[in-house]
């Protein structure tokens, strides 16, 4: 008889705490997916690159996008004027000597794909951006994303027609950067505070800095081409503890109103990564 009695009181007990039990289970599911939220592992299924979310954001952006046209146009005009002033029509021929064009001598390393932002956020600690170009248009993981004014992020997940990029405003990435003036390199990291500001680490104390100096991509990673502007130096102070500067920078891309971007494909990325993976052999 005792086990029937025991069963009964167990059921009673469960009945009394079943709400608490469901609460704990649901909370556990949420927290495990939050903590196990590795950027790559739950790509495509859980990210907004998935089909429905992509379409809903496409629809939204069709209307919301108009609000950003003014800033976007101004930035494109600046870019255009820069290109115009560099184009051949802006130069006069002042020599009779024949010049080879660069594209017959050089080998193409970076290819650009244009894309529109369909979803963006700046208010969280780990922000992502969804773009309207996917694997069907040749977008792959680990491609760089830039706007007309500077670095935006890196592609982390791709579906057929959409791509998800980890934003510069994400505490999980640092971007290899260098000072434009003297090539000392460090990394740009966002601290999760103001969406216009970040810090530049690892610049040694003996380097001469000036307020307003431009920070550009270093080109040491296989993702970004060298020399793409990221930020300008806003303030800096010497840190006596570890002999590195503490530098605050102002990001050049206004992440809040970025709407048209370029995705950059490095055609020699695989070659570089394969070569670099050989380095591990010599370490062991």
């Amino acid at each position: 008889m005792w086990f029937i009695f025991g069963m009964d009181s167990l059921l009673n007990f469960l009945k009394r705490i079943h709400i608490l039990l469901i609460f704990v289970v649901l909370e556990a599911i949420s927290l495990t997916s939050l903590i196990g939220g590795d950027v790559r592992r739950n790509s495509v299924f859980n990210t907004s690159a998935n089909y429905i979310a992509g379409h809903v954001y496409d629809l939204t952006w069709r209307y919301v996008g108009y609000f950003y046209l003014r800033e976007e146009n101004a930035s494109l005009m600046r870019q255009l004027s820069k290109i115009r002033s560099n184009s051949s029509s802006s130069y006069i021929i002042d020599t009779a000597r024949f010049h080879d064009k660069l594209d017959t001598l050089g080998k193409l390393k970076y290819r650009y794909i244009t894309a529109s932002v369909v979803k963006n956020s700046v208010s969280r600690q780990n922000n992502f951006i969804t773009l309207d170009q996917g694997s069907a248009n040749g977008v792959r993981e680990d491609m760089a994303v830039i706007s007309a004014s500077g670095v935006v992020g890196v592609i982390v997940a791709v579906s057929e027609h959409y791509a998800s990029a980890i934003s510069l405003l994400n505490r999980k990435i640092g971007i290899s950067a260098k000072l434009k003036t003297n090539d000392f390199y460090g990394s740009i990291i966002w601290l999760g505070e103001d969406y216009r500001k970040a810090v530049l680490n690892e610049i040694p104390n003996h380097v001469e800095l000036h307020q307003g100096d431009t920070v550009v991509t270093s080109g040491y990673s296989s993702i970004f081409p060298p020399g793409i502007p990221i930020a300008t130096i806003e303030s800096f102070e010497k840190n006596t503890e570890d002999n590195f500067y503490k530098i605050n920078v102002k990001l050049l891309t206004d992440m809040k109103c970025v709407s048209n971007v370029f995705i950059i494909e490095n055609l020699m990325q695989d070659e570089q990564l394969n070569l670099e993976s050989l380095e591990n052999k010599f370490v062991q």
């Binding site: 939050l34 859980n46 969280r124 505070e193 969406y195 216009r196």
Partner: protein
């Protein structure tokens, strides 16, 4: 609770999730980055008669739907489940002496302004506190997180009250 009541819940859910991702996620006030989490209104207006366990499941589904659109697996759902759980307790505490009458709803227009404030403010604050503390994941920058909790709660509360006047006027 009949099928009509449940289809009304479903409609509210769809409207609020779409409003959150298409409208409110585009709002971003000041450099603090204040984005009202308006979808929490769904948890507030679930009828009293819905079984308690289902209220929790509703909270989870709501949060997870928003998560899918925001690339934040588990963040909104964790905050929403906490809020749905707390709502059960809050409704218990502020219940009238004879319990809630059949056919009444936890709406501002039916229950009165002061009742609705004492009901919605703690729930919204707890939801936002859970959300921003899980997002920051720790206590560094605590002052900033605290400011975000306070100002976003105020912002959400204002929108929630406005929405009550617009959607449930008699």
């Amino acid at each position: 609770m009949d099928i009509r009541a449940y289809s009304k819940i479903l409609l509210t859910y769809i409207v609020l999730v779409l409003a959150q991702i298409m409208v409110f996620n585009n709002i971003n006030i000041s450099s603090l980055g204040i984005t009202p989490l308006f979808y929490v209104l769904f948890i507030l207006v679930v009828p009293y008669e819905v079984p308690l366990w289902l209220q929790l499941v509703f909270g989870f589904i709501l949060g997870y739907s928003v998560d899918i659109f925001c690339d934040t697996p588990g963040l909104n759902s964790a905050a929403s489940v906490v809020t749905a759980f707390l709502r059960i307790k809050v409704l218990d505490i502020i219940a009238p002496r004879d319990g809630y009458e059949n056919g009444t709803h936890p709406y501002l227009m039916e229950m009165g302004f002061s009742w609705f404030l004492s009901y919605s403010v703690p729930l919204i604050v707890v939801h936002h506190a859970a959300y921003f503390m899980l997002d920051a994941f720790g206590f560094e920058n605590f002052l900033r997180t605290l400011l975000k909790i306070i100002f976003t709660s105020i912002c959400t509360e204002v929108f929630v009250i406005f929405a009550q006047y617009i959607a449930y006027r008699k």
